[in-house]
Amino acid sequence: MQEVKIAIRELACRRGDRLLFRGLSMDLNAGQAVQVAGGNGIGKSSLLRIVAGLAPAFAGTVERAGAIGLVDERPALDPTRSLGDALAFWQAIDGTAPDEARAALERLGLADLTDVPVRYLSTGQKKRAALARLIGQNAPLWLLDEPLNGLDVHAVALTETIVREHCAGGGIALVASHQPFALPGLRSLALADYAA
């Protein structure tokens, strides 16, 4: 397996006129997981977007080795298309094997919903669909922004299991959540310690 890592050095983030955090350094190597904790508005999502390369860092650097998979509050699935079609689009883009895609759907309890337009799905079902997209992407670096929002107890446990398997397989997970996330060996990063 190729090298996977995330190396964050002296990172600072600014939103508008406010400096959210600064001096953040962290290393994530294969198999490791970190939960970014902190209250609303402290910069958890901004940190994930900077690590993903979708937002510029105000100062500092982020080094990445490996492809990035991101799940945030937007499922990136066309609301008017059926769940099956919407996911099939990403499977074609990501080159997901059909067996693997079907297995992910069954595991996440979505197999019966493939004919339902995405806009009729509940918040939790959309979240599961985003997870199915993430699994199909086969990316070693997972950035999960509030992955447990809207999930029921069963789905929370399932998500934790999926992330555990991902890390056991040599992947990296960076989880931003204000809810407890059960994962053996999960390090916690209190973003409040770096608040500017």
Partner: protein
Amino acid sequence: MSGRVASLLKRDLARLLLGGRGGGALMPVLFFLSVAMLYPFAVGPDAPLLARTGGGVIWVAALLAAILPLDRLVEPDIEQGQFDQWALRGISEELVIAVRVLAHWLSFGPPLMLATLPAAALLGLEAKTLRIVELGLLAGTPGLAALGVTVAALTAGLRGGAALAGLLVIPMAVPILIFGAGSLAIGGESGLALTGAASLVLLAIAPFAGGAAVRAARG
């Protein structure tokens, strides 16, 4: 790579051509036909006048019809996070916008050219005029599509973006309209070439301007 382009184009066509909210390609065509139908009611059944001015009306109607789908061209994909997911997979905004221009043109250009046939009958256009109108639309609608996607990307995420997009497209479409409708005048056939030239310029700019606009909107 080509597989990804095919996937993007397939998805864009499913959204723009076949419908979803906004009625797909059907709405602009019906709008276009109703404008062409209203015009004789407004100016009266004066056949020579209709035949003389009808070509210009078709051009204005085509321009207005091209504005209708602007708000669903780019903004939903920014809102739902598709552009972020593409960026993570190394699919550039420029590529997505270029594919979108093609899909947008396919979903309104050829349908409008087909709808021009009944519209020309309503306005009593001669066969020769109709031929030049159709050639002009063939040369001009790709430019309108490029312009529409670019402006849709520029105004995505702005308050009142849809209305603003329409206002911005109209002045920028003036060259295409002048050359396209101007080709109908006696001895104005060279206008077709200029319409095509204006289209090519817009097509060349669109992916880069639109891609930069999408990145800027990401913030």
